[in-house]
């Protein structure tokens, strides 16, 4: 099935270029010109993937992207568990994103923890006409009365807020004062801002800076005694428990994790982070901003890492350890050695079933590059990848450290392009989101959701890799894919046979 294994790199490149030309033909001229800049075939040795990114999506093409609100409430703020996040505006945004991202946490929901709840101001026409500030003030009072153990409140703006000129900052300040300096964070993440989720991440990061860091009293007594080994996990949303299967490794190597951003995170952890000796950053895209800020303001270095698959995990553990003394360096080696037998067993079991299989990805954040190593650990090959809301620095990292020569690159892919690419390339697996899942499964192509781990996970860390390998095997080698054609219609597909 895998065409890539039987073709030379030159042939693959030619085929991919031709594919790009073909899909562009469907567009009106102006659109074709714009989309052409987002599609490319990777050339080894280039410093980036040769595509434009972080530009406006084109109307009417079926982009897969979301909005700034999704980036702030859905990604960055939503998982902070002891704060209440108000979806401020009409009911829909909060409803569709309610508990949909699987940010695992420990806590008594509705009492001291609020992640899987939907707090909304449920704007009505009169709120649009007369403004929603008074309503917001009242909402904060009602939250204080009914949810007295909340540690703070954020206001996640939906589109109308910025359009009707509400002053949520003023309301936040007044209410914060009224409730003895309570943390109340207004976030200007209206969905029309920017071109995707990405600006929402940035706005959310800035809100942490302005409304949390800048309000922490530097004279206050520390909640815990600092150690030389304190680190913070930045950019892990604990989807299916990812941050937990990562944290355990850092702790086993002798580090102390003082904060998780933001999966299973708390306000106290956000506030304590400036005390870290090192910030370790998983999702660069969504949290590089605050990492850079902490570097500039507090002198905390940060280090990107990748906890998908044993090769990248070992590389990352050593990289993180390099910031510390020999005790930690030895700790990293000890952890790598400890899990080696598990990794050997996982690979021995699954690699023979997955060797040579090809994958096409289209995801957000760090995953279009970060998971490539995990597939390679299983003998699989990623033949196409792209970012939903990446920037050029993502494509640089991808080109320099991850993708192979000839890989098809598609930025902000449209539904049409993605279907055509998959149809022609016939990968053994597609990894993308819920909106794409059933499209490809109908086509008979095995699929895994690579945002939500298809309700599985964790995929991070050594423990997560076992689950990842099992899931990929389960998807690709499910007997169901042999049954998509009725036996009385089962004729070989001549074009494919010829290609092989």
């Amino acid at each position: 099935m895998s065409l890539a294994t039987t073709e030379s790199v030159a042939e693959i490149k030619a085929r991919n270029k031709q594919l790009i030309d073909e899909v562009l033909k469907v567009y009106p001229e102006k659109t074709a010109k714009r989309r052409a800049k987002h599609l490319n075939v990777h050339e080894a040795g280039k410093s980036d993937c040769g595509v434009k990114s972080n530009l406006k999506s084109i109307p009417g093409v079926m982009t897969i992207r979301g909005c700034a609100y999704a980036g702030s409430k859905g990604v960055v703020w939503g998982p902070i568990k002891d704060m209440i996040h108000i979806s401020h505006g009409p009911v829909g945004c909060g409803q569709y994103s309610w508990a949909a991202r699987r940010n695992y946490y420990i806590g008594t929901t509705g009492i001291d923890t609020f992640v899987t709840m939907q707090f909304t101001s449920d704007f009505q026409e009169k709120d649009i006409v007369f403004g929603g500030d008074k309503k917001l003030a009242k909402i904060i009072d009602e939250i204080q009365e009914l949810f007295p153990l909340n540690h703070g409140i954020t206001i996640q703006s939906e589109c109308p807020i910025g359009l009707i000129g509400d002053d949520i900052e003023a309301v936040s300040k007044v209410k914060s004062k009224e409730y003895d300096g309570k943390t109340i964070v207004p976030v200007r993440c209206e969905g029309f801002r920017g071109v995707s989720q990405s600006l929402g991440h940035h706005i959310a990061n800035d809100a942490v800076r302005d409304w949390i860091f800048d309000k922490v009293n530097p004279e206050a007594k520390p909640a815990f005694e600092p150690t030389p080994y304190d680190v913070a996990i930045i950019g892990d949303y604990n989807i299916g428990g990812d941050a937990w299967s990562s944290r355990i490794l850092l702790e086993e190597m002798g580090l102390r994790v003082i904060a998780q951003w933001s999966g299973d995170g708390s306000l106290a952890e956000l506030e304590a982070t400036p005390k870290a000796k090192l910030n370790v950053l998983h999702c660069y895209r969504s949290m590089n901003y605050i990492s850079r800020h902490m570097e500039e303001k507090f002198g905390i270095p940060w280090c990107e890492y990748n906890f998908f698959g044993p090769s990248k995990i070992a590389e990352s553990l050593r990289k993180i350890a390099s910031f510390f003394d020999d005790k930690i360096k030895e700790g990293a080696e000890r952890v790598i050695a400890k899990y080696q037998p598990l990794m050997d067993a996982v690979i021995a079991k699954y690699r023979p079933r997955l060797e040579g299989k090809t994958v096409m990805l289209f995801v957000g954040g760090l995953r279009p590059r970060h998971v490539i190593g995990a597939y390679e650990d299983l003998g699989m090959e990623v033949v196409g990848t792209g970012y939903e809301f990446g920037h050029n620095d993502d494509y640089q990292r991808t080109a320099q450290h991850y993708v192979k020569d000839g890989t098809l690159i598609y930025d902000d892919v449209t539904g049409y392009e993605f279907e055509r690419f998959v149809e022609k390339i016939q990968p053994d697996l597609v990894g993308s989101g819920i909106k794409e899942k059933y499209v490809f499964q109908k086509m008979g192509v095995p699929f895994r959701q690579m945002h939500s781990w298809d309700y599985s996970g964790p995929y991070h860390g050594y423990d997560g890799f076992a689950i990842f390998a099992r899931d990929m095997d389960m998807a690709i080698n499910s007997p169901i894919w042999k049954k998509t054609k009725a036996p009385w219609k089962d004729a070989p597909r001549p074009s494919l046979m010829a290609a092989e």
């Binding site: 567009y27 009106p28 406006k56 084109i58 109307p59 009417g60 079926m62 982009t63 979301g66 909005c67 002891d82 505006g89 009409p90 009911v91 829909g92 945004c93 409803q95 569709y96 994103s97 309610w98 949909a100 695992y104 509705g110 709840m117 707090f119 909304t120 704007f123 009505q124 709120d127 649009i128 009242k138 909402i139 009602e142 009914l146 007295p148 153990l149 589109c159 109308p160 910025g162 029309f192 909640a223 428990g241 937990w244 355990i248 003082i258 106290a268 400890k338 598990l342 079991k349 279907e419 989101g433 819920i434 909106k435 059933y438 008979g444 964790p458 423990d463 076992a466 689950i467 998509t484």
Partner: protein
């Protein structure tokens, strides 16, 4: 180490191991600034009290865990029910990502829809250019037979005029002048997804019947004896519409299903992705004006559509998501009266089988108390069914139900001795329901997937009926309408009742004397 290659542990087992438990406990005590566990416990208990309920019901501004979505979701749901139609939502693009995800998570199906991707510049200058480019791209790429436009709240707040925009886009050549682009304004800050359903369906009928926004002559109605059928926003649309077709065919009724999305939300896996499948043909949508009558299964999904249809001279009839014997009787008798066709013998037999099943099982349901929440019509239909089973729909809550709905519910309660202690709660949310379940407990809860949080917190067993159902698969394929649909609902309820009885009687040597093999 807990993980194991031979028996890979999933998240629900992995983190229960001692290493992880220790790690999480340390995280909490050292870094999370947790409240004193006794204080958490105190508040947890307080939140169960009548005092808390009173404060909770005194809320005026805050909504917590509502059971409703916004208008455009309903508009998208309608649009995909027409042949070859792509929904086009004018406004911010994130909304469309949400509708598509929401529908895909419920139906486990692709959900195709495009956005005009408006951003800051459109907020300032309006979204006309987005409409012009967007329609051209959609038309060229996906070759729909029709593009049905609705709006997000962004476009509504800045006041974009769909009629004028579409006209201009046509003049600019985005789509041919005669191409069908019906539209509906669907502001998210008015009503809910059922309102959006209503507006979008009315928009499409208006387009075809009333001269395509001034570009064609209005159709002149010539009555043809057919009936139009409208399902309303319905999580069971796949099973229900097919069941309705079967019933119409059994009775020899000529019909048009309007917004028939039963196929597009149930496409086969056979190697081909169908962006469009089935649906009401555009010809049928236009010809629906000639029908004798239009029947809506959900009054609150068609509050504007039905008067519009009536205004064109048709008889209209609205039901409230009919479930069970009497509601189905009414539906069929109305159908029979309007069409002059007798109720088919086969349906009479199905009726008898449903009554038979209810008689067989009634002892297990009779006198049981239920809480129900969901869309207004669904609530009514389920409550009526419970009443005829001798059960008590004690709390019936609809976030998108209004005062008129509540009065109608109270009327239903008054009609049955089992409705004596039952109440309707319009405009309330699931946090209100939580207080109701703590202070006036019931035996079972009926609602959508989000009810599982109520089940966890209050211990009230949840029977999943409603939209969305994300965490159980394939129930949308089975009807809940017609006598056979009633049977499905009955079995769903009974299964939960029996499971609970077994769960409550399964402790060896303590309670298992009642762990009966025959029930």
């Amino acid at each position: 180490m807990t993980q194991n290659a031979e028996h890979v542990l999933d998240h629900f087992e992995l983190f229960r191991g001692p290493e992880y438990q220790q790690m999480l406990a340390n995280k909490k005590t050292l870094f999370e600034n947790p409240h004193d566990p006794a204080e958490v416990e105190r508040i947890r208990e307080w939140a169960k009290t009548p005092e808390y309920r009173e404060k909770n019901f005194a809320r005026e501004a805050l909504t917590v865990n509502p059971a409703k979505a916004c208008q455009p979701l309903g508009a998208v749901f309608v649009a995909v029910g027409f042949e070859g139609t792509l929904p086009f939502v004018h406004g911010s693009q994130g909304c469309v990502a949400y509708y598509r995800s929401h529908l895909s998570r419920h139906f486990k199906e692709p959900s195709s829809c495009v956005s005009s991707s408006m951003t800051e510049d459109a907020a300032v200058f309006g979204g006309l250019n987005n409409m012009i480019d967007g329609l051209a791209n959609t038309y060229n790429m996906y070759q729909p037979k029709m593009i049905a436009v609705s709006t997000t709240c962004m476009a509504e707040v800045i006041g974009d005029d769909l009629n004028a925009f579409i006209k201009t886009a046509k003049e600019k050549g985005s789509v041919p002048a005669e191409y069908d682009v019906p539209f509906a304004h669907t502001p998210a800050f008015v009503g809910s997804h059922v309102t959006g359903y209503d507006n979008a369906l009315k928009g499409i009928l208006e387009h075809f019947w009333d001269g395509k926004a001034g570009t064609a002559p209005k159709l002149e109605r010539k009555e043809n004896g057919k009936i139009n059928f409208i399902g309303g926003f319905d999580g069971y649309t796949v099973g229900n519409i097919r069941e309705m077709k079967r019933i119409f065919e059994l009775m020899g009724i000529e019909y048009t299903i309007l917004a028939d999305n039963s196929d597009v939300f149930d496409t086969p896996t056979d190697g081909e992705f169908r962006m469009y499948d089935g649906g009401t043909t555009l010809e049928d949508a236009a010809n629906a004006i000639h029908a004798k009558a239009t029947i809506s299964m959900q009054q609150y999904c068609t509050e504007k559509t039905l008067p519009f249809v009536q205004g064109h001279g048709q008889e209209v009839a609205a039901f409230n998501h009919p479930v069970g014997v009497s509601a189905t009787d009414d539906f069929l008798m109305t159908l029979s009266r309007i069409t002059g066709k007798p109720i088919a013998k086969a349906l009479e037999q199905e009726r008898g089988r449903l009554v038979d099943a209810m008689a067989d099982s009634s002892a297990h349901i009779h006198g049981k108390k239920f809480a129900i929440y969901g869309d207004p019509d669904l609530c009514y239909g389920l409550a009526a069914f419970l009443l005829e089973l001798g059960a008590e729909p004690t709390h019936v809550l609809s976030t998108n139900g209004n005062k008129a709905w509540a009065e109608k519910m109270e009327g239903l309660f008054a009609s049955s001795p089992f409705g004596k202690n039952c109440h309707a709660y319009p405009g309330k949310d699931l946090w209100h329901m939580r207080s109701l379940l703590f202070t006036e407990p019931v035996d079972f809860l009926i609602g959508n997937t989000y009810g599982k949080y109520l089940e966890r917190d209050t211990g009230t067993p949840l029977i999943r009926i409603g939209f969305p159902v994300f965490d159980r698969h394939h129930h949308h394929r089975y009807p809940v309408w017609g006598y056979q649909g009633g049977m499905n609902v009955l079995v769903k309820i009974l299964d939960k009742i029996f499971d609970e009885i077994d769960k409550n009687t399964n402790v060896p040597a303590k309670t298992d004397y009642s762990f009966d093999i025959i029930r």
